[in-house]
């Protein structure tokens, strides 16, 4: 397994522990460039922009924050930051009105709802114990919904009511086991999204929505059962022959959907990872491959690191070992220098011009490390011979020159090198032709 190292980073000082889910990357101020939002356990939220390690905005007393998200939650066509705490309080921050979100300058921001307490939310459904949230349009009405995953076997869907400035509950699902996390997945080419929920032991459940259906269907029998489809682990055991050790049925599991296969198809893959070191890539209900590692995988993200319009799977372990895996199971690993308490992969703009793939780690010593350019040229390293054989034009040239065996091809490559050298010796008097251009990607 090839290991890589990343160098360019920002080391950001934070005031407390930053848990998983309390780091988010996204465009908060509508300038097209991504910012970093970090919340620590002291209720302190900071926004970082560009190459500064000083926050461009910060505020405290948010309470015991469990997760945050950057999304168009209010359906106003612009992103806002939503912060959720254990006791059910949440805050929505809108940075779009502040014209210049610049570092070190105090700017006026507009808080749409600040510390709206739980009882104000519609009906008796409060939203405490949120572990993670996601925002997506599930019923194809062009309006986003908020899906919250609670620590008590529950998942609930809300919609923002802009008139009354509150969340309206749409649906609530109760699962048999504790939910690891939730994700959105489009499994078919029709592009209908569904909610996938990870369940202990590397299994998952699919949640279907019924709030847009008629009352008759809703009040039918087995309402709670019919909206949850369990996909237990036992179904996979015999399919997956590569599984080398038996799966712990209680192990914590993470899920991630909508991993782009190619730019043409709306349907994607989804992935599962467990704390005992299993990573699985799935298509519909089929396991494409599985990978076993000796590290405790706790965070699962997707990111296009190669720049080929396909998203690679990124998994991170508690000890800082990070794996970047493509759809063909080529793996590259990166060892972060310390133990990790939170990890996030996404895009960030260091120069406020262009978004670049980046990794964010939070260690146990009150620092957040932002590696802001983690682009890789390839995952699987090859030598020139193998590379030449895979190239059509080159194989044709090999054939024309009568090279069929590996040795013959190798000697042709050697001949190329010596021909170039001979040409240099012949041209030794006119040095000016030799100024070949050196670019950043000459050495990879």
């Amino acid at each position: 397994m090839r290991s890589v190292s990343f160098v360019d980073h920002l080391k950001i000082k934070v005031n407390g522990k930053v848990g998983q889910g309390c780091i988010a990357l996204g465009d908060v101020d509508g300038d097209g460039c991504s910012e970093l939002v970090v919340a620590d356990d002291g209720g302190h939220v900071q926004v970082f922009k560009g190459d500064s390690t000083k926050p461009c905005w910060e505020s405290s007393d948010f309470g015991d924050i469990t997760c945050l998200t950057i999304a168009d939650l209010c359906n106003e066509g612009k992103n806002c930051v939503a912060v959720f705490t254990t006791d059910g309080a949440f805050s929505i921050l809108d940075f779009n009105k502040s014209q210049n979100l610049k570092c070190k300058t105090h700017f006026k921001f507009k808080i749409v709802v600040l510390k709206l307490d739980a009882p104000i939310i519609h009906s008796d459904h409060v939203i405490p114990n949120i572990m993670n949230v996601l925002v997506s349009d599930l019923d194809s009405d062009q309006l986003n919904e908020l899906i919250a995953c609670h620590s008590d076997h529950c998942v609930s869907a809300y919609r923002w009511n802009s008139k009354h400035k509150r969340f309206t509950i749409l649906q609530r699902w109760t699962l048999r086991q504790l939910v690891g996390n939730i994700s959105i997945h489009v499994s078919s080419d029709e592009g209908v999204p569904s909610i996938i929920v990870s369940q202990p032991g590397c299994s998952y459940a699919v949640l279907s929505i019924n709030w847009n259906q008629s009352e008759a269907v809703k009040t039918g029998p087995n309402i709670s059962e019919s909206t949850v489809t369990y996909t237990p682990l036992s179904r996979f055991v015999h399919i997956d022959s590569s599984q080398s050790r038996s799966q712990n049925p209680t192990i914590t599991c993470q899920i991630l959907g909508d991993i782009t296969k190619s730019s043409s198809s709306p349907a994607g893959y989804f992935a599962l990872c467990t704390l005992d070191g299993t990573l699985k890539l799935m298509e519909e209900d089929k396991i494409l491959w599985s990978l076993q590692v000796d590290h405790q995988l706790f965070a699962l993200y997707k990111l296009d690191i190669l720049g080929d319009n396909r998203e690679e799977v990124i998994v991170c372990a508690w000890d800082g070992q990070t794996y970047i895996v493509d759809h063909d199971r080529n793996v590259v690993r990166y060892q972060f220098l310390d133990n990790v308490q939170a990890f996030c992969a996404g895009s960030f703009s260091i120069d406020s011009k262009q978004n670049r793939p980046c990794f964010v780690y939070s260690d146990f010593h009150n620092h957040v490390w932002l590696y802001y350019d983690v682009k890789l040229p390839f995952l699987k390293a090859t030598d020139l011979l193998t590379f030449a054989e895979s190239d059509q034009e080159m194989s044709r040239l090999f054939l024309q020159l009568g090279a069929t065996t590996i040795e013959e091809k190798r000697s042709l490559l050697k001949k190329c090198g010596s021909t170039i050298l001979d040409q240099v010796k012949l041209n030794s008097n006119n040095d000016k032709d030799l100024n070949s251009q050196y670019s950043k990607d000459t050495w990879l």
Partner: protein, 343 residues
């Protein structure tokens, strides 16, 4: 890969230098210098004295790890290197270890294939190394042909001595000296013999000295140290630790790589002006200790190997670029073949 534990290297010692060579009769021979916690220094030479090993097997490595000769050193060892050399009054040449100490140069050799290594008189092997200007820190020897060699020595006081030596008679033909202002960390001799008529022409000497910019002296065997080319911005940060020279596979020109303790690798090309700016700079996560340009994948394309305090990085050329260049070369070869058949 396999881990072979070497006997009698204490677990808490500091390995200072290591070197190996292949001897026709004895197979692989490995030399290791290390300092124990007590401050005592040792040189262990691992050599399979037992049976003749014409071809090297993996199992021999385990045997090798047990048979060694240990030398207690009365000096502080630095670089350990080896050279195939003819001893005075001997008929054939054999490989010997050369160890740089803080007092002088030491040579360890076998009188014949069957006997153990012993420390021998340096004057019988390398006449140019008898006089020591200061504490020697780096030694580079290059065989120009069968009868002559070039020796470059860097010292801790910044002095560099360059010798052209007749190997057969072990006499100095010509020598040059220059004073730099800081410890010499590495020297590399590289022949840029585009002109084949004169073998001594266009020998370049790359000098990495710790507290100043790296310098290339071109055509050293004709001009001595008269034509320096300064490699700009190599000395900007911390110590310059290492250098390597190779050829660009795409255009055949010479490339010089400089490694620094402030975690940089700098690459220089085209040395026609007295001051050269780096063509390419890459930052690493840890200080760079040593760098090398060589082909390890067997495709005749050099890789850049960078040894840092935390591990080894292998950088590959952009194969897309190389392949495009090679395609054009192969096309021209194909046309040449077609032309010949048409005639």
């Amino acid at each position: 890969s396999k881990e072979v534990p070497f006997t009698y290297i204490p677990p808490k010692c500091h390995v200072i230098s290591i070197d190996s060579f292949n001897c026709g009769a004895r197979g692989l021979i490995i030399g290791v210098t290390f300092a124990e916690e007590s401050g005592e220094n040792f040189l262990n030479i691992y050599c399979n004295y037992g049976d003749n090993v014409p071809e090297f097997h993996e199992r021999d490595l385990e045997n090798l790890a047990y048979t060694f000769k240990s030398f207690a050193l009365t000096f502080t060892p630095f670089q350990l290197t080896h050279r195939k050399v003819k001893r005075c009054n001997d008929d054939s040449s054999r490989s010997v270890f050369i160890l740089l100490g803080d007092d002088k140069f030491h040579v360890y050799s076998q009188i014949s294939d069957d006997v153990e290594f012993i420390e021998d008189e340096i004057k019988d092997y390398f006449v140019e190394l008898v006089v020591c200007e200061s504490v020697p820190t780096y030694l580079e020897i290059y065989a120009v042909d069968q009868t002559t060699r070039v020796t470059a020595v860097g010292y801790a006081n910044g002095k560099i001595c360059l010798f052209l030596v007749d190997c057969t008679t072990n006499t100095i033909i010509k020598s040059w000296k220059i004073q730099h202002s800081s410890i010499i960390s590495q020297l590399v001799l590289y022949p840029d013999n585009r002109n084949q008529k004169d073998e001594y022409a266009n020998f370049m000497l790359v000098v990495a000295s710790t507290r100043e910019e790296a310098v290339v002296y071109s055509d050293v065997l004709n001009l001595g140290f008269e034509k320096p080319v300064i490699l700009r911005s190599s000395g900007d940060g911390d110590c310059v630790t290492c250098c390597a020279v190779g050829r660009d596979n795409c255009d055949g020109t010479i490339e010089i790589v400089i490694g620094t303790y402030d975690q940089r690798i700098l690459l220089y090309k085209n040395f026609s002006t007295p001051i050269v700016e780096p063509s390419w700079v890459k930052h690493f996560a840890h200080p760079v200790l040593k760098t090398e340009l060589c082909d390890i994948t067997g495709d005749y394309i050099t890789e850049l190997i960078v040894f840092t305090t935390k591990g080894i990085h292998i950088l590959q050329r952009n194969l897309h670029n190389v392949l495009n260049v090679y395609k054009n070369v192969l096309k021209s070869i194909t046309y040449a073949c077609c032309d010949e058949t048409n005639k």
